[in-house]
C-alpha cells in the first residue's frame, strides 16, 4: 500500500475540500505535516483509519461529530449535510480509492450526531477510470487487515505501550495475522468438528445386519438348489415313464385289434399337445394386450375434455397466438419496432413492445397442443380397437379350451374302448399304460409343486439380495465415514505441527528483525527481545550477562518502533514471497504480507533530545513511505537535520482562531508560512498549505 493522496471535505476542522499529496519515492519517502497542538494533526491521523475502517482512535474526542461544525451550524432545519474522506493508494500494481461519507440531517438545534457511514472502494481500469468494487469493507481488510493497522497508523506518544507486558496479545495477534498463522489456528479448531460429524454418521449405520442377511440368502439359495435337484429327478422320472409308455404304445400298435384305436390316440395326443401350446400362447397374447393397451379402458372422457379445451382456446384466438415471443425478442434486441420506432430501454415504446413478451406464444407449446389434440381424437378409436381385439382373443381361447376338452374326452373314450376289448393282452397293456399315466400325472403335479416353491424361493432370494445390497451400501458408507473422519483428524495433526513450527520460527525471525531495527536506532549496549510469550523486553548486556533494563518512555518508544519496523520488513518479505508465486509448500508459508506505510502522529512528543535524533534518523528507513505529523516545537533543529534529506512533500496546518494575539509563523527551507492566525474568522478553522521542498 503506497499512499498517493488524501482528500478531506468538511471533515472535522477542515472545511471545504483540502488535499494532501504524499511523497513516496526513494530517497524522498517522507511527507511531513506541521501543525500546532490541537489544530488537526490527530484528525489527519484519524482520517486514514476512518476512511479505511470507519473507526477513530480511542482518544479522539466527539467521534459522533465528523462533519465540520461551521457547515453544520450554517445548515437549515431539515437540511442534510455530510463529510467525506477520500484516500487514494497503490497496492499490488492497482490504483485504488477508498471513499467514506458520513451524512446527517439537521433537526432544529439538536447537536450533530452521526451514526454510521458509507464506504466505497474503487479500482482504476485499463482506461484509467475508477470502477467501484463490491464488498468494500472486506476488500479493504484484505489489503491492510484491520488488526494490523494500529501498527502502521499510530500516535507516537502512545506507541510505547507495545513495550508493556499487557501488549503481548496485540503483538501475538498481529504476528499471526501477518504470517498466516491465524488460518492454521482456525483450521486446527474447525477440523475436529468435521471429524466428529463423520463419526456421528458412522454410528448411524450398523454392520451386523449385513452378516444376518447374507446367512439368510445362503439358506434360501441352498433350498432353491435342492428343489432344482428334485425337479431334475422328477423330469427324469417323467422321461422314463414316457419311454415305458412309448414301448406299450408300440406293442398296442402291433396288435391288429388295438392298432386303429392306438393310431387315433397317437393323432389325438399330438393334436392335444398342439392345442395346449396354442392355449398357452393365447393366454400370453391376452396378458400382453392388457398390459400394453389396458389403460385405454380407464381413460373415461379425458379425450373429449382435451378436445373441448383445445376448441375453446382456438375459438378465443389464443391458439395459435398471432404473435410469437421469439419475434418480440428479436425486435427488442434489434432496438427497432416493425413500424420503425426506435426501442430504447426505459422508454414508453420499448415498454409497450416488451409487454407482448407476456402475451406472445411459445412455438413449442403450441405445437404440443396440436399434437395432443390429434392424439385425443384417436383415443376413443383406440379404446374401441382394444375392446375388439380382447373379445376376439378371448373367443379364440374359449374355442381352444373346448377343443382341449373334446380331445380329452376322445382320448378317455379310446382308453375305455381298449380296456373293454376281448383280448386279455390288450386289456393288460392298456391297464399298465393307465398306471403309467397316473404315475406320470403324479410326477407332473409334484414337479409343478417344486416349480411353485422354487418361484417363491426365487422372489425371497431377490428380496434378500436387494436387502444385502442395501446393507453393503450402508456398510460402505460406514467405512467411508470412518476414512473421512480419519483424514480430517490427520489433516488437523498436520496443521498443528506446521503451526507449531511456524509460530516458533516466525517469532525467532521477528525477534531478529526487532533486534536489527533497534541497533540501527540506538547505540546503547542494550538488547531487545521478542520472547516466546510475544512480550517485548529490553535487556542490559554487560560481559555477556543479561539483566532487565530500566526503560524510560523514550526507550519504550524506540523498542516499540523497532517492533513496528521489524513487522514492516517481515510484511514486505511476505509480499515478495507471494509475488514469486511459488505454489505448493509456499502457499502454507504465505500470510497476508504487503508493503505498508507508517503514519505517525506526535512522533517526537515524549522524547528526550537524544532519542528524537535517533528516531528521526530511523523513521524514513522503517517503511518505504513515512508520513510524520509534528508540531513546530517537536521539529527541533536535530530532528529536521536528520529528516531533511528524505522529505519529498511538506504541509502546514494553518490554524485560524477568533482569539487575538495568537499569530505565529513557521519557517521551512527559507520560506515563512502562517502557523496560527488570530482574529480573522468567527470560528476556529484549519487549512492545509503545501510548503516548498528542497
Amino acid at each position: 500500500m503506497k499512499l498517493l493522496t488524501l482528500e478531506l471535505r468538511d471533515f472535522r476542522q477542515f472545511r471545504g475540500t483540502q488535499t494532501i499529496h504524499f511523497a513516496g519515492g526513494e530517497p524522498l519517502n517522507v511527507t511531513v505535516i506541521f501543525g500546532a497542538n490541537g489544530t488537526g494533526k490527530t484528525t489527519l491521523l484519524n482520517s486514514f483509519t476512518w476512511a479505511l475502517y470507519g473507526e477513530f482512535t480511542p482518544d479522539f474526542e466527539h467521534p459522533e461529530r465528523p462533519i465540520n461544525q461551521r457547515v453544520w451550524d450554517a445548515a437549515g432545519d431539515g437540511e442534510e449535510v455530510s463529510a467525506e474522506v477520500q484516500l487514494e493508494f497503490e497496492h499490488d500494481d492497482g490504483r485504488y480509492m477508498v471513499k467514506r461519507i458520513a451524512r446527517c440531517r439537521k433537526e432544529g438545534t439538536e447537536p450533530q450526531e452521526v451514526r454510521g457511514s458509507q464506504v466505497s472502494l474503487y479500482l482504476t481500469d485499463a482506461s484509467g477510470r475508477f470502477r467501484e468494487l463490491p464488498g468494500a469493507a472486506d476488500a479493504v481488510d484484505q489489503i491492510l487487515p484491520k488488526r494490523l493497522h494500529q501498527f502502521f497508523f499510530f500516535n507516537g506518544e502512545r506507541i510505547d505501550r507495545l513495550a508493556q507486558q499487557t501488549a503481548y496479545e496485540e503483538i501475538e495477534a498481529a504476528t499471526k495475522t501477518l504470517l498466516g498463522l491465524e488460518v492454521m489456528e482456525r483450521a486446527v479448531k474447525h477440523l475436529p468438528k468435521v471429524a466428529q460429524n463423520f463419526e456421528a454418521q458412522l454410528k448411524k449405520v450398523g454392520s451386523s445386519e449385513q452378516q444376518e442377511v447374507a446367512a439368510r440368502l445362503d439358506d434360501l439359495r441352498s433350498n432353491h438348489e435342492a428343489l432344482e435337484d428334485q425337479r431334475t429327478q422328477a423330469k427324469r422320472n417323467i422321461a422314463a415313464l414316457d419311454s415305458e409308455r412309448d414301448v406299450l404304445d408300440g406293442r398296442l400298435r402291433d396288435l391288429a385289434d388295438a392298432r386303429a384305436l392306438q393310431e387315433d390316440r397317437d393323432r389325438y395326443e399330438a393334436e392335444l399337445g398342439q392345442t395346449r401350446k396354442r392355449i398357452a400362447d393365447q393366454r400370453a397374447a391376452i396378458d400382453g394386450l392388457v398390459s400394453d393397451k389396458g389403460f385405454y379402458a380407464l381413460l373415461g372422457s379425458l379425450g373429449e375434455q382435451v378436445q373441448s379445451t383445445f376448441g375453446e382456446l382456438k375459438s378465443r384466438g389464443e391458439l395459435p397466438t398471432p404473435i410469437k415471443r421469439t419475434f418480440v425478442a428479436e425486435l427488442l434486441e434489434k432496438g427497432e419496432c416493425i413500424c420503425g420506432t426506435p426501442l430504447v430501454e426505459g422508454e414508453h415504446a420499448h415498454h409497450l413492445v416488451a409487454e407482448y413478451m407476456e402475451r406472445g406464444g411459445v412455438a413449442e407449446v403450441e405445437q404440443r397442443w396440436i399434437q395432443l389434440n390429434s392424439e385425443a381424437q384417436n383415443l376413443d378409436r383406440d379404446r374401441e380397437d382394444l375392446r375388439g381385439e380382447l373379445e376376439r382373443a378371448i373367443g379364440l381361447l374359449a374355442d381352444l379350451r373346448a377343443q382341449e376338452t373334446d380331445l380329452d374326452e376322445r382320448l378317455s373314450a379310446i382308453a375305455s374302448k381298449l380296456q373293454n376289448l376281448p383280448s386279455e393282452e390288450i386289456r393288460e397293456l392298456e391297464k399298465a399304460r393307465g398306471k403309467l399315466e397316473e404315475k406320470r400325472s403324479d410326477w407332473l403335479r409334484r414337479d409343478g409343486g417344486f416349480e411353485q416353491e422354487q418361484d417363491r424361493l426365487q422372489s425371497e432370494i431377490d428380496a434378500a439380495k436387494a436387502e444385502l445390497d442395501k446393507a453393503q451400501a450402508r456398510s460402505q458408507e460406514a467405512a467411508l465415514a470412518q476414512r473421512r473422519a480419519a483424514v480430517a483428524s490427520e489433516a488437523q495433526t498436520v496443521f498443528q505441527r506446521i503451526y507449531d513450527v511456524l509460530q516458533h520460527e516466525v517469532r525467532k525471525e521477528l525477534d531478529g528483525r526487532v533486534k536489527e531495527t533497534f541497533r540501527s536506532i540506538s547505540f546503547k549496549p542494550r538488547e531487545p527481545e521478542l520472547n516466546e510469550d510475544f512480550e517485548l523486553r529490553l535487556w542490559d548486556v554487560e560481559n555477556g550477562i543479561r539483566t532487565p533494563a530500566a526503560k524510560s518512555t523514550g526507550e519504550n518508544q524506540i523498542l516499540s518502533l523497532s517492533f513496528v519496523g521489524g513487522l514492516a520488513s517481515l510484511a514486505r518479505d511476505q509480499a515478495k514471497a507471494q509475488d514469486n508465486g511459488k505454489g505448493g509448500l509456499e502457499a502454507l508459508l504465505s500470510g497476508v504480507g504487503g508493503i505498508y506505510p507508517i503514519v505517525m502522529d506526535a512522533a517526537f512528543g515524549n522524547l528526550d533530545l537524544d532519542y528524537r535524533e535517533d528516531v528521526a534518523r530511523a523513521l524514513p528507513r522503517l517503511a518505504p513511505q513515512s508520513i510524520i505529523l509534528v508540531s513546530k516545537g517537536q521539529a527541533s533543529g536535530e530532528v529536521m537535520r536528520e529528516l531533511d534529506p528524505r522529505i519529498g512533500r511538506a504541509y502546514v496546518i494553518t490554524y485560524s482562531t477568533p482569539k487575538e494575539g495568537e499569530d505565529e509563523q513557521i519557517s521551512f527551507n527559507g520560506h515563512s508560512y502562517p502557523y496560527k492566525r488570530s482574529g480573522t474568522v468567527e470560528n476556529e478553522m484549519a487549512e492545509l498549505t503545501e510548503m516548498e521542498v528542497g
Binding site: G180, H190, R497, V506, G565, S569
Partner: protein
C-alpha cells in the same frame, strides 16, 4: 533500506513443514490445501460462516 533487508530465512521451517506434509497421506495433504484456501477466504470474518460445511464437503470430495 538499511533495516532488516535480508530475506526471511525459511529453510528450517520449510524443511520441517515438508517433513510433516510428506509423512501425511495423499488425502490428508490434499485436504490441508483445501482447508487453507477455505479458511483464508473467510479470514476477514470474525465468525466465519459455513466453514464446517465447506470443509465437510472438501473431505467428501477428496475421500470417496
Amino acid at each position: 533500506m538499511g533495516v532488516a533487508a535480508k530475506e526471511f530465512d525459511r529453510s528450517n521451517a520449510e524443511e520441517e513443514i515438508r517433513a510433516a506434509m510428506t509423512a501425511a497421506s495423499p488425502e490428508a495433504r490434499e485436504l490441508v490445501k483445501s482447508v487453507l484456501s477455505i479458511e483464508r477466504d473467510k479470514l476477514h470474518m470474525k465468525l466465519p460462516r459455513h466453514v464446517i460445511e465447506e470443509i465437510t464437503e472438501a473431505v467428501e470430495d477428496i475421500v470417496q
